[in-house]
C-alpha cells in the first residue's frame, strides 16, 4: 500500500517479560523487534526470553502452585478474580483491539467488535466452570468406596500462535486457571504485545504473582525450553503441524509431559447441488478469506458440485475482486496485510506453483502495493487434488475451487489428507448433511455456517491436525489430573 498508514491511538506500555508478577528484562538483556505488517516497520522492542527466562518463569509458576495461595483458595475466589479480569478487559476493549491490529494486521472492526468481546466472553465462561469441576463416585464390584478427584495438573505451559493472539491467550489461560493451575505462556514472536497487556490486567484483577507468567521470544529458544522443561506438567501448543511434531518430541524426550496439539488444516468446504449459489459463494469466501486466510481451519478446499461449478466460480471470482484490502485501521476494510515476510513469501510461492501446475487463476495472484505484506485476494479454479495448492496449507488469501460429481466421491477426496481440522457443508438436504457429517474425519463440521467459535463448543483436530480439544467442558480435561481414591467399606447398606 502506498497510503500513509493510520497511526494507532494506543500506547505500548508493556514490553518486558512477566515473571512472578513483575515485568523484567530478559536474563540476557536481549530484545527483539515486533513489526507492523502494514509497513514492515518496528512497533516496539520486546524483551527476548530464552531458556534461562523460561527456567525462572517455571520456577515462579511451580512456587505459586506448590506453595502459593492460588490452588488453595476457594473456587469461588478464583472465579471472582477471573470475572474481575473480564470486567477490566471490557473497560479496555478498544485499546486491546488497537494493539492487536497493530501487531497482527487484522481489520480493526473484527478485533474490536468480535474478537475482544469473544475473549471477554471466554473468560466469563471459564470463570463459571471454576466452582463446578466435578469428579465421580463410582459403583464398585465389591465393598469399596471409590471416587475420583479431578485435581489441577500443576504447572502448565502454553505456546500460542500469532493469528488470533488474544483468543489463543483465552483458550489457554481460561481453562488452565479455572482449574487451579499456574501457567507459563509463550506468545508468538510476531505478536507479543496483547498477551502482555492482558496479563497485566489479570494481575490488576488480583491474580497472585507467579500464577501467569508470559515469556515472549522465539520458538527454537523459549518455546523449545518450555516444551522440554522437566518441571512443566502439561503443554498445550497451537501452531503448525511441523512445529507441533518438534514440540511433541521435546515433551516426550524430557519428562513425558502430556501434550495437546492444535495444528494445521486443509479443510474442505463442500457445496452441494441444492445450494443457493449466492449464499454458498459468500460463505465459502468468508470461510477461506477470513483473517487474511490465516486460520488453521480455513475452508481451503472448496468442493463444488459440477452442476453449479461454472456459475459458482464466476461469482467467487467477482466476490474476490470486490474484497477490499488495505490498512486494517481504515473503516470498511475486509482484509489487512499478511503477518510477516516469511508468510508473505510462502504464499506467493504457492500462488506461483498453482499457476505452474495448470490451475486457472481467476483473480489476484500477486502482491498489493509496495509496502507491507498485502496480497490480492486470489482464486484458482480447475484445481486438481494432486496440486500443491490443493494439498498444502497455504495460510493466505488463496481460494482453490475443485469440482465433484457425487457424495461418495467428495467424501473420499475430502478425507484424502493428513489433516482433519474442520469442514463446511452447504446443503439443505437432511440426509446429505447427516451422511457428510458422519463421514468427514474432522473435529468440527459446520453446516450452512462457518467459523462459529462459541465458548461451549469444543475445537480440535483429527489426524495430523492435532489431538485434544479446546473450549467447552472438554478443555478442562487438558488441565486436570484424575486421581482415583479407593477404600474398603464394612457392611455397606447397599452396593
Amino acid at each position: 500500500m502506498s497510503e500513509v498508514p493510520i497511526k494507532p491511538s494506543v500506547e505500548i506500555k508493556y514490553t518486558k517479560l512477566l515473571i512472578d508478577g513483575k515485568f523484567v528484562d530478559a536474563a540476557s538483556g536481549k530484545t527483539f523487534q515486533t513489526l507492523d505488517p502494514r509497513t514492515g516497520e518496528v512497533i516496539a522492542n520486546v524483551a527476548e526470553g530464552d531458556a534461562e527466562d523460561i527456567n525462572r518463569a517455571v520456577a515462579a509458576a511451580r512456587k505459586a502452585f506448590d506453595e502459593g495461595p492460588w490452588p488453595k483458595m476457594t473456587a469461588y475466589a478464583r472465579q471472582k478474580i477471573l470475572l474481575r479480569f473480564a470486567d477490566l478487559l471490557e473497560q479496555h476493549n478498544d485499546e486491546l483491539a488497537a494493539l492487536e491490529v497493530w501487531d497482527n494486521g487484522k481489520p480493526y472492526e473484527q478485533a474490536a467488535t468480535v474478537e475482544v468481546p469473544m475473549l471477554i466472553r471466554l473468560m466469563r465462561y471459564y470463570a463459571g466452570w471454576a466452582d463446578k469441576i466435578h469428579g465421580l463416585t463410582v459403583p464398585a464390584d465389591g465393598p469399596f468406596h471409590m471416587q475420583t478427584l479431578h485435581e489441577p495438573i500443576g504447572v502448565a505451559g502454553g505456546i500460542i500462535p500469532w493469528n488470533f493472539p488474544l483468543l489463543m491467550f483465552a483458550w489457554k489461560v481460561g481453562p488452565a486457571l479455572a482449574c487451579g493451575n499456574t501457567l507459563v505462556l509463550k506468545p508468538a514472536e510476531q505478536t507479543p504485545l496483547t498477551a502482555l497487556f492482558a496479563a497485566k490486567l489479570l494481575h490488576e484483577a488480583g491474580l497472585p504473582p507467579g500464577v501467569l507468567n508470559v515469556i515472549p521470544g522465539y520458538g527454537p529458544t523459549a518455546g523449545a525450553a518450555l516444551a522440554s522443561h522437566m518441571d512443566v506438567d502439561k503443554l498445550a501448543f497451537t501452531g503448525s503441524t511441523e512445529t507441533g511434531k518438534i514440540v511433541l518430541e521435546l515433551a516426550t524426550k524430557s519428562n513425558l509431559k502430556p501434550v495437546s496439539l492444535e495444528l494445521g488444516g486443509k479443510s474442505p468446504f463442500i457445496v452441494c447441488e441444492d445450494a443457493d449459489i449466492d449464499k454458498a459463494v459468500e460463505l465459502a469466501h468468508y470461510a477461506l478469506f477470513f483473517n487474511q486466510g490465516q486460520c488453521c481451519c480455513a475452508g481451503s478446499r472448496t468442493f463444488v458440485h459440477e452442476s453449479i461449478y461454472d456459475k459458482f466460480v464466476e461469482k467467487a471470482k467477482q466476490r474476490a475482486l470486490k474484497r477490499s484490502v488495505g490498512d486494517p485501521f481504515k473503516e470498511g476494510i475486509e482484509q489487512g496485510p499478511q503477518i510477516d515476510t516469511e508468510q508473505f513469501n510462502k504464499i506467493l510461492k504457492y500462488i506461483k506453483s498453482g499457476v505452474e501446475s495448470g490451475a486457472t487463476l481467476e483473480s489476484g495472484g500477486e502482491r498489493l502495493g509496495d509496502k507491507g505484506y498485502y496480497i490480492k485476494p486470489t482464486v484458482f479454479s480447475n484445481v486438481k487434488d494432486d496440486m500443491l495448492i490443493a494439498k498444502d496449507e497455504i495460510f493466505g488469501p488463496v481460494q482453490t475451487i475443485l469440482k465433484f460429481k457425487d457424495l461418495d466421491e467428495v467424501i473420499r477426496r475430502a478425507n484424502d489428507t493428513h489433516y482433519g481440522l474442520a469442514a463446511g457443508i452447504f446443503s439443505q438436504n437432511v440426509d446429505t448433511i447427516n451422511t457428510l457429517t458422519r463421514a468427514l474425519r474432522v473435529g468440527t463440521v459446520w453446516v450452512n455456517c462457518y467459523n462459529l467459535y462459541d465458548a461451549a463448543i469444543p475445537f480440535g483436530g483429527y489426524k495430523m491436525s492435532g489431538h485434544g480439544r479446546e473450549k467447552g467442558e472438554y478443555s478442562l480435561e487438558n488441565y486436570l489430573q484424575v486421581k482415583a481414591v479407593c477404600t474398603p467399606l464394612v457392611n455397606p447398606a447397599w452396593l
Partner: protein, 501 residues
C-alpha cells in the same frame, strides 16, 4: 438458662424504610385486585412493620399470564445462556451493593441475626445467583449411542412457568436457591414468599428489574398459603411447583398439583435430623457442633440436628459440656452483635415450641436446661435440652423448629444407625468420629440426603441438599438443582450409510 442481652431492645431498633410493599407483576409493583393488605410483624416486639399487598387467586392468575407470555413469546428463553448469565451477574452485583439494607429487612421480618445477614446470608445469596449464572451457558444434553441407524440426542429445555413457594426461615437464601437455577434454565416464575417474610423478596424484585431481567420473568405474589399458595399449586397453566416448608403443607401442595394439571412437584420439607457422636470424638468440638446444630437460626432450619445420640463412653463428659455451653448462649435483639440468636419468627411458632416443651416435660424426658420463654415482649425462647428422650416421645418424633434438643445415649454403631433411621424424615445427619470405617459405614447407612462428617451445616453452592422419605424430593444447591427446571426432549432421525454406528 441462656442469657438475655439486656441492652438489645432499646439501642438496636433499626428499622429501615420499607420501600416495597406491593405485588410485583409483569415488572410493576401493583396493589392486589381485592385491595386487601396484611401485616408483617417484627418478632422482637410483636409490632407491625408494614402492611403488604395480599395476593389471592386473581392476582396469581395475572402473574401467571405475565409469566406465560414472557416464556412463550418473550426474550428470556430465547436469549443465550450467556446473555441470561450476564443479567444474573448484574443482579448479584446489585445485591452486593445493598447488603446492609437487605440484611436489616430479614432481621426485622424474621428475627435473624443482623451480623450474620450482613456477612454471611446476603453475600451468600449473591454467590448463589453467581453460581447459577455460571451454569446458564453450560447446560448440556447428550448425543446418544443408538443401537440402530439413527442419530439421537437429548435437549434440556426450560420447563416453562414455575411456581415457587418459599418459607420464612432463610428468606434471601431460599429466594435465590429457587430463582437462581430457574432463571439460568430460561424459565419464568411466580414466587410466593412466606407471609411472615415478604420484605426482602419484594426488594429483590426491584433489583431484578434494574439488572435487566425482563418484565414478566420474575413475579412476586405476597400473601397466604391457603389462598395465594393454593392458587399456585392448583393452577392449570403452571408447569412446575417448587415448595419448601413443612411436610404437612407439602402434602397439600402435592395433592393440589395432582388434582389440577399434574404439574411437576419438588418438595423440600421438614426434618428431625440426628447428630451421632461416637466415643472417639473430641468433647469440646462435638459439644459445640451439637449446640450450633440445634440453635443456629434459633432452631428454625430444616436440617437442624434436633436429635442428639451420644455414645455411652463419652456421654457424661459431653452432656456436661453441652449444658455449660447452652447456659452461656446469648439470646436477644438480633441487631446486637453479641447475640447468638434472636426471637422465633412469630407468635404461632413461639406457642408451638412452648407446647412441645410442655409435652417433653409431661412425657418424662429430663429437662437439663432452658424450657422457658425469655423476656416480656416478642418471641424469645431459651436454649432447651431434654435428656433420656425415648423414640416414641413426641419431642423425638415431631419437628419442633425451635431451640429444643432431644438427647439420648447409645451403645453400639448398629443401634445408632437404627435409631437415627427410625423417623419418617430423612433430610440430614451428622456423624462425629475419627474412625474411617465408622464414618463410611454410618454415612452409607443413614437414609438422609446430606451427611455431615465432623462438621454440620457445611453447605456449599456446588453441593446438593434435599430429602429422603417425608423430608421431600428434589434437590437444591449444585447443578442437581437445575433438573427441576428442565424437560428432557429426545430427538431422533434416521441416518444412511454412516461409516460407524
Amino acid at each position: 438458662m441462656g442469657s438475655h442481652s439486656k441492652d438489645g431492645l432499646e439501642s438496636f431498633v433499626k428499622i429501615p424504610t420499607i420501600k416495597f410493599t406491593k405485588l410485583f407483576i409483569n415488572g410493576e409493583f401493583v396493589d392486589s385486585i381485592s385491595g386487601n393488605t396484611f401485616e408483617t410483624i417484627d418478632p422482637r416486639t410483636g409490632e407491625v412493620i408494614a402492611r403488604i399487598a395480599e395476593g389471592d387467586k386473581e392476582d396469581v392468575d395475572l402473574a401467571v399470564k405475565a409469566a406465560r407470555h414472557a416464556f412463550d413469546d418473550g426474550q428470556w428463553p430465547r436469549i443465550s445462556g450467556a446473555e441470561r448469565a450476564k443479567r444474573m451477574m448484574k443482579f448479584a452485583d446489585l445485591i452486593d451493593q445493598n447488603v446492609e439494607e437487605l440484611a436489616a429487612l430479614d432481621t426485622i421480618d424474621a428475627g435473624k441475626l443482623f451480623s450474620m445477614g450482613k456477612t454471611v446470608d446476603i453475600p451468600h445469596a449473591a454467590s448463589v445467583i453467581r453460581y447459577y449464572a455460571g451454569a446458564a451457558d453450560k447446560i448440556h444434553g447428550e448425543v446418544l449411542k443408538m443401537s440402530n441407524a439413527f442419530h439421537g440426542y437429548t435437549l434440556r429445555e426450560p420447563i416453562g412457568v414455575v411456581g415457587h413457594i418459599i418459607p420464612w426461615n432463610f428468606p434471601s437464601t431460599l429466594f435465590f436457591l429457587k430463582v437462581g437455577p430457574a432463571l439460568a434454565a430460561g424459565c419464568t416464575m411466580i414466587v410466593k414468599p412466606a407471609e411472615q417474610t415478604p420484605l426482602s423478596a419484594l426488594y429483590y424484585a426491584h433489583l431484578a428489574k434494574l439488572a435487566g431481567i425482563p418484565d414478566g420473568v420474575l413475579n412476586i405474589i405476597t400473601g397466604f398459603g391457603p389462598t395465594a399458595g393454593a392458587a399456585i399449586s392448583s393452577h392449570m397453566d403452571i408447569d412446575a411447583v417448587n415448595f419448601t416448608g413443612s411436610t404437612e403443607v407439602g402434602r397439600i401442595v402435592m395433592k393440589a398439583a395432582a388434582e389440577s394439571n399434574l404439574k411437576v412437584v419438588s418438595l423440600e420439607l421438614g426434618g428431625k435430623s440426628p447428630l451421632i457422636i461416637f466415643d472417639d470424638a473430641d468433647v469440646d468440638m462435638a459439644a459445640q457442633l451439637a449446640l450450633n446444630g440445634v440453635l443456629h437460626n434459633k432452631g428454625e432450619i430444616c436440617v437442624a440436628s434436633s436429635r442428639l445420640f451420644v455414645q455411652e463412653g463419652i456421654y457424661e463428659k459431653l452432656v456436661e459440656k453441652l449444658v455449660e455451653k447452652a447456659k452461656a448462649w446469648v439470646v436477644g435483639d438480633p441487631f446486637d452483635p453479641k447475640v447468638q440468636h434472636g426471637p422465633q419468627v412469630d407468635k404461632q411458632q413461639f406457642e408451638k415450641i412452648l407446647s412441645y416443651i410442655e409435652h417433653g416435660k409431661k412425657e418424662g424426658a429430663t429437662l437439663l436446661t432452658g424450657g422457658k420463654p425469655l423476656g416480656e415482649k416478642g418471641y424469645y425462647i431459651e436454649p432447651t435440652i431434654f435428656a433420656e428422650v425415648k423414640e416414641d416421645m413426641l419431642i423425638a418424633k415431631d419437628e419442633i423448629f425451635g431451640p429444643v434438643l432431644a438427647l439420648a445415649k447409645f451403645k453400639t454403631i448398629d443401634e445408632a444407625i437404627k435409631r437415627a433411621n427410625s423417623t419418617r424424615y430423612g433430610l440430614a445427619a451428622g456423624i462425629v468420629t475419627k474412625d474411617l470405617n465408622v464414618a463410611n459405614t454410618v454415612s452409607r447407612s443413614i437414609r438422609a440426603g446430606t451427611i455431615w462428617i465432623n462438621c454440620y451445616f457445611a453447605f456449599d453452592n456446588d453441593c446438593p441438599v434435599g430429602g429422603y422419605k417425608m423430608s421431600g424430593f428434589g434437590r437444591d444447591f449444585g447443578l442437581e438443582a437445575l433438573h427441576k427446571y428442565f424437560q428432557v426432549k429426545s430427538v431422533v432421525t434416521p441416518i444412511y450409510n454412516s461409516p460407524w454406528l
